[in-house]
Symmetry: C2
Subunit: 246 residues, 2 copies
DNA sequence: ATAAGTCTTTGATGTAGGTCAATATGACGC
DNA sequence: GCGTCATATTGACCTACATCAAAGACTTAT
């Protein structure tokens, strides 16, 4: 058991907090975006705030998909496994992101907390009932899914056709863009995941990720002041590298 | 200009046919699935039946996404390009599939007809208006998107972590499964796309796809009676190969 | 502070699949 | 049927990245 965890139980068994949506720090950037006060109350009534510690598995691929989640704090990695243990990260989640899409009522991937996390949990059946009641909510979900699908297709292009340096550059840029859209600046980004997580996201090995980052450092394009944090010094060059324009 | 094309114009400029949804051959497996007669009429009223010839580009990545489509006949390839021409197929569409998801009002990929195709075309603005009117329709779209997202994640696992033989086996199995769900049997599948299309879908080269297929033929797992058609002789073995259980 | 464990970096070597090039096969028009 | 063109196959060779192995650098516990 990891000692760094402040919270020990799994997400579905131990809701430590049960705060209403009104206080939510991600309202307006998330599922609840642009809901009327009334609708927000309805959503609030079926949701439970949950906290999970770093390293805790939040959902397991193939388990019945009884809950959906909205991330309100921390960061999460999503992944799928092959029988022999090979792993593919399908995404990283940050506050505002949605978790829990399923097929045949089972989760399509596993999710693990990269840091201590806060989540807003919805029973699937209740959320689905609410979708029929609140068209705005359904519409919002539709838009989020459609965006995710576009990103998934970008990732296919990356995985299938980009070189190691293009992959790493694209990854850093995507994180930067995300950070910028929230904080206004995307020059310094946080890297809560390890090298091997990044490798499994980009279809590379830990070693190749590390070598590629050193390479970018040597060229002066990035610096890594502390592990877990990265600074982009030459955004233009990184952008060119990401698209193979070199 | 290709001589094999029966239809010369692009999809958005030349609706040759304008038949109502009532006659549609894919109703019940598509967007229009489970709509009431009344709702179907509304949907019908904003749709235009369109035919495009083999090789015609139906939509272009980055063009304004003015239309959405439902495939009613033929097959289509979807792809994204890098500046230097490297290509990643993001999917193949068959009757019943939906085409046209976008981000920032622009198409996220290009689409080209693999064979002469029939499509059902909806102006985006009108369809979006209709979504608000018909919750069932929105719900249906939500389910379709969510399924597509799950498939996209499977494809990430394939692209990032599978070997050539696992990729090709998985691809054939996926086509087989699709065929089976429609026709009842999945032992013989049609391959309307060329080797290089398959390669660009699997993150491989034409040559590697070809070598891998001959490999599978030599092992007796598949046969290729004519180009454009493929028979699976040992489904079990192919399934094991697809997941790396060998 | 120190020890133990984990994660990252760096180096040496191997290989799956890419690249380049030469046939072979099939589709279509005449 | 015959020539042309596009696509598929096969072979020889190469390279980007993986694998294997050995230091460093952090982290946390005592």
């Amino acid at each position: 058991m990891r000692s760094g965890s402040h919270f020990a139980q799994t997400a579905s068994s131990n809701p430590l907090v049960n705060s209403p949506c009104e206080k939510c720090n991600v309202a307006g950037m998330s599922l609840c975006h642009a809901l009327s006060c009334d609708d927000l109350k309805k959503l609030s009534s079926i949701s439970t705030a949950v906290e999970v510690g770093k390293g805790v598995t939040i959902i397991n691929e193939m388990d019945p998909a009884d809950f959906l989640f909205n991330v309100t704090g921390g960061s999460i990695k999503l992944y799928k496994l092959l029988p022999d243990g090979r792993r593919q990260m399908t995404g990283f989640l940050f506050p505002g992101d949605f978790l829990g899409i399923a097929m045949n009522d089972c989760y399509a991937y596993s999710a693990e907390a990269l840091e201590d996390c806060k989540l807003c949990r919805f029973p699937r059946a209740k959320l689905e009932a609410l979708l029929k009641e609140i068209p705005d909510l359904e519409n919002r979900l539709l838009n989020m899914l459609s965006n995710e699908l576009v990103l998934a297709q970008d990732q296919m292009l990356l995985l299938g056709r980009k070189t190691a340096i293009e992959k790493v550059s694209s990854f850093l840029l995507a994180l930067s863009k995300r950070t910028k859209s929230k904080t206004g600046t995307g020059d310094v980004i946080s890297l809560p995941m390890g090298r091997s997580d990044i490798g499994d996201y980009l279809g590379l090995t830990t070693e190749t990720v590390s070598r590629t980052l050193t390479n970018l450092k040597k060229k002066g394009i990035i610096s890594i002041p502390t592990n877990g944090q990265l600074e982009i010094n030459d955004m233009e060059e990184l952008t060119d590298l990401a698209e193979g324009m070199d």
